[in-house]
Subunit: 243 residues, 2 copies
C-alpha cells in the first residue's frame, strides 16, 4: 500500500528541484491540487524538522541544505566506483546517447547514475528510475551475473506484461534472450519496455557488486547501430576492468 503523505514529501522535493525557486503555500496547494489545510500541515512538518525554510519574508518556502548534507553522507557511504562513473561520461560523449549504470533491486533494475544524451530527442532518465529486470537489456545484463537459483526466483515472480512490441512474454523467452546475450557478451532491447526505445547493455562486476552499463536512445537512431554500439561499450569496459 502506498503511503500518500510519504509520497507527497518526495513529490515536494521533485517539485522544488524542477522549480528551482521558493513557492508559497497557495502555489504549492494549486500545483498539486492539495487542500490548503493539508498543504499547510506538510509544509509545517518539513519546516519544523529543518527541511524547509522561508528564504525571504512572505515569498514562500524552499528546501534547506539539510537534504544535500544527508544525501551526501548517504552517497559517500555507498559509492559507485569512480572509474565506472567516469566511463559512462565518456560513453555518453562518444555515442551521443543516454548512458547509465544500473544495479538489481528485487524485480527491477534501478538506475544509479545517468548521463543523458544532449540530443533534443533522447532517452530522458534519472537516478532512481526503475525498469522490470526481466524485460530490459539493463536487467538481463544483471540477471546474467546472478546465480541461476536467484534468476529462477525472479523469473517466477516476474510480471509478464506487454510493455512494447519487443517485451519477452514468458520465462522461456527471457531465458533464451539471456543465453544469446551471454554468448555474445551484451544484451539488446528494442521496444522491450519503452516504446521506440532501443539500447544495448553489458554486465560489469566491480567492488564486489554487479552492475550493468546501458547505452540507449530512440530506435530510429540506435536500431541500426546496435552491434557497433555494443562493441564500443564492451571495448570501453574491457579497458576499464583487467581481464
Amino acid at each position: 500500500m502506498i503511503v500518500r503523505q510519504a509520497r507527497n514529501v518526495l513529490r515536494l522535493l521533485e517539485f522544488f528541484a524542477e522549480k528551482k525557486a521558493p513557492a508559497t503555500l497557495a502555489e504549492i496547494s494549486a500545483a498539486f491540487g492539495w487542500p490548503r489545510s493539508s498543504t499547510y500541515n506538510i509544509l509545517t512538518t518539513l519546516s519544523n524538522a529543518g527541511f524547509l525554510y522561508e528564504p525571504r519574508a512572505r515569498a514562500g518556502f524552499y528546501p534547506t541544505p539539510r537534504w544535500l548534507q544527508l544525501a551526501q553522507e548517504i552517497a559517500e557511504a555507498e559509492p559507485i566506483p569512480e572509474a565506472l562513473t567516469g566511463l559512462i561520461h565518456d560513453l555518453a560523449e562518444g555515442t551521443g546517447e543516454t548512458v547509465w549504470i544500473s544495479a538489481p533491486s528485487g524485480l527491477h533494475a534501478v538506475m544509479l547514475h545517468v548521463v543523458e544524451s544532449r540530443a533534443p530527442v533522447r532517452y530522458a532518465a534519472r537516478p532512481g528510475d526503475r525498469v522490470p529486470i526481466h524485460a530490459t537489456a539493463s536487467g538481463q545484463a544483471l540477471l546474467a551475473q546472478m546465480p541461476s537459483r536467484d534468476v529462477d526466483v525472479i523469473l517466477r515472480k516476474a510480471d509478464y506484461v506487454r510493455y512494447g512490441a519487443g517485451t519477452p512474454m514468458t520465462r522461456a523467452e527471457v531465458l533464451k534472450g539471456l543465453e544469446e546475450g551471454k554468448a555474445r557478451g551484451w544484451f539488446a532491447s528494442a521496444s522491450n519496455y519503452s516504446a521506440d526505445l532501443g539500447g544495448v547493455a553489458a554486465p560489469v562486476a566491480m567492488a564486489g557488486r554487479i552492475f550493468a552499463v546501458t547505452v540507449a536512445g530512440p530506435l530510429f537512431r540506435v536500431g541500426d547501430r546496435m552491434e557497433e554500439t555494443a562493441k564500443y561499450l564492451i571495448d570501453a569496459l574491457a579497458a576499464l576492468t583487467p581481464a
Copy 2:
C-alpha cells in the same frame, strides 16, 4: 499539525545518513518501533518512487542517488555566496569553534551552512537546525538588518519562553539587546537558548539577502573571549565585503 508519515520519511533519510549501510525491514521496524506492516508500506512507497533500492539481495534497503541529484539541483538554484562559505571554514579553523551561516525564516533563524569545531566538546549543529530568532545571537544579527515594521511583527508573535539563564523574556529586553548589538556591531548570547552555550554573531548582507555568521561553543571556552572572538569575526567579514 504534524503529518506523521511525512515526518517518517525525513527520519528514514536521517537514519540512513547516520547508519551509512543498508537496513532490512526488520531492522528499520525495530529502530523506530514502527509496526512491520506500516514499515513495509513506507519502504514500498519510497522504493516504487525510486528513492530506495535493495543494493544486495536480501541485505536490505538503501537510498538511491536520486536524493543527491534532487538536492544538488535545489542547492545550485539558491546558492549561499561562495565567499561566505569559504569564510566560515577559515573562521572555524581560526577560532576552533563551530561557525555557521544563518538566514531568517519566520520566527526562526535557520542554519544554512555549518562548519563544526573539531574539539571533542563542541556545539554540534547541522544545516536546517532552527533557533528562535528573538532569543539568539544569530537571530538578533538578522533582526538588526530588517525594517522595524518586520521586527515589530516578529516580536509580537514571538514565544517568550525561558530556554536558559540568558533568554530575553520580553519584547523590551530583545529590543535593548538589539540596540546594544547594533551599536557595537555584533550580538552575543550566553545560555540564551542552549544551556552552557555562548556565541557571537555578526550581520552580513550579500547577493540581495541578509545572513548572520555566528561563532559558538561551550561557555567555559568562549565566555571570557567574546569581545576578542567578535573582533576576529567582524574583521574577517570586513575583509570580505567592500565597505
